[in-house]
């Protein structure tokens, strides 16, 4: 359902052109949980940005379901991000002045859902991550694990096609990391496609499939090798 073929991406660095992604091919099926690993500078963040429609690419094709993601206007990009993709970030990226329930409800604001309705839905999702009691607390009053669970609830509220997680356990201790990873596993078990970027092997091990990037190339993909 998600297919990248011969994706190439360059960055201009001064007079030079940095070739960040080289002919990346990738296919992720519905309901898969995939980990993308790679050293710093391997291009894994760039790949995640392209997958999340936060960044464009220079050559190749990116299909998300039946939609070709290419040459979108900012407004179209925003709409696809809102409808098709859920984001979870390393630094949580919650709005500090909003309560947990307001943070979770935010994506629905951009779908024009009424405040009452979206807060009601947001409360259900907070309940799913076990934080219904924390609905009216602000992020500053929560632990890292709690914040990340709020962020996960926020990523799920629009019922996206995929959830993209960028180093979701990077700021958490190992015990909390395990809890968060368990939450991802539970979400994946409901049929949600999850793609996470990490450099921690034990986190990647929780995913069904691990793709290794090196110097902008897919170095190791069990499925591609099998195919």
């Amino acid at each position: 359902m998600l297919r990248l073929s011969k994706i190439n991406k360059y960055y201009a660095v001064g007079a030079h052109r940095l070739h960040v992604l080289r002919d990346v091919d990738l296919e992720v099926g519905d309901g898969e949980m995939v980990a993308i690993m790679g050293a710093s500078g391997s291009g894994k963040s760039t790949l995640l940005n392209i997958l999340g429609i936060l960044d464009g690419y220079d050559a190749g094709e990116y299909w998300l379901g039946d939609t070709l993601i290419r040459g979108l206007s900012e407004t179209q990009g925003a709409r696809y991000r809102n409808k098709l993709i859920g984001f979870v970030f390393q630094s949580f990226n919650l709005l500090p002045f909003k309560t947990a329930v307001e943070n979770v409800a935010l994506p629905l604001y951009y779908q024009g859902v009424s405040r009452r309705q979206r807060n009601r839905v947001a409360l259900q999702y907070l309940d799913k991550v076990g934080l219904a009691d924390w609905a009216d607390h602000r992020p500053a009053e929560m632990s890292g694990g709690q914040k990340q669970r709020v962020a996960i609830a926020r990523s799920l509220i629009t019922k996206p096609r995929i959830v993209l997680a960028d180093e979701p356990t990077g700021a958490l201790d190992s015990k909390t990391s395990d809890e968060v990873m368990q939450l991802f596993a539970d979400i994946n078990a409901t049929g949600m496609t999850v793609i996470l970027v990490t450099h921690e092997a034990d986190v990647a091990a929780k995913a069904g499939r691990t793709i290794r990037l090196k110097d902008g190339r897919v170095e190791d993909d069990p499925i591609a090798q099998a195919g």
């Binding site: 407004t75 409808k83 919650l94």
Partner: protein, 417 residues
Amino acid sequence: MFSLDRWQEVLSTLARAPLRSILTAFAVAWGIFMLVFLLGMGHGLRKGAETQFADDAANSVWVFGGTTSQPYQGLPVGRRLTFSNADYANLRHLDGVERLTGRYFPGSGGRPFGGSLKVRVGAKTQDFDLRAVHPDHLYLEKTLVKAGRYINQADLDEKRKAAVIGIPVAQFFWGSTDVIGRSLEIGGVSFDVVGVFDDEGGDDGELQMIYVPVTTAQLAWNGADRLNALLFTVGDKGVAETNQLLDEVKATLAERMRFNPADPQAIRVRNNLEQYATFQQIFWLIELFVTAMGAATIVAGVIGVANIMLITVKERTKEIGIRKALGAPPLSIVGAIMQESIFLTAVAGYLGLIAGVGALTLISKVVPDNDFFGEPQIDLRLALYANVVLVVAGAVAGFFPAYQAARVSPIEAMKDR
């Protein structure tokens, strides 16, 4: 497009930095306050000066006989010129002369200005100024008849002993203004009161006055056919046309009285229209100046708002990035910033407007009535302009920060710093 949600977002953003919001708002409020206050004061000055002119018709020209300074057709220098009924009749036929009246001052002893006569009712006696006039004098002096009527053509034709008296005159003799039909003795001649008047913009001097028909006065006080002054209005003519008409008037007078029309001393002229035009110009300049000052103050306020909004956008870069990642379209970001800016300027501006109007009201209450300053206020039209200016100013102030916000890249914004 009204959206309660959007408003809640905007209000909560402003409330997050209350001191900054208030200080920013103050800059705008101050600008509008200054604009309103200065314009109101300018208006007051103008009103004050206008009352000085309101006494007499602004489009009027007064001519008085002078003394010749140039020999003409063999006649010597230094002749005193006095108008007569014939001059009145000649000017009547001039095109462009709208309202025309002569003035004869029975009590002046031949001088071209006022003069009083002894007036008696029963045992009460007092000197009052007397003017013998034609019916059109009503319009030249902007006399307001409060009771009865003014001098009319029948009074002149029949040389009736009719008098129109000022309110203070009626009050002095009878302690009332309900005095139509009463008699009074003016300079030994008995007259009947046919009207009581007030005077627009007139001071007490204009009201301590008695008007009588010019023909009656000429007969009663040995005036023959003399007139001391001729006054006329020129309709809606401009300054240039009025001066042209004045030349014709001089030529007409010169023909009968035989003086050089170019003689600057022969006829003395008071051209109210020209004075009024000069005065209008001065006040137009004052208002222009005041408006420019007020506008400059508003511009300073707007720049202040834009500046603060830019800082706000800078501070909120991360928030904007997160919102974009979660699917906020650029228009929504731009709209929110613009709305914030317009809201801030509009509310602050209204407060400034109210404060300005309040200050003007206070001043008009505190400053006593006088001839140089009156009714400091701004008209509704100007208040509406100010509203438009405020919204436009808010939009302008918000545009660049909003543009800046729309360009925020979510990837860059969300990077940990």
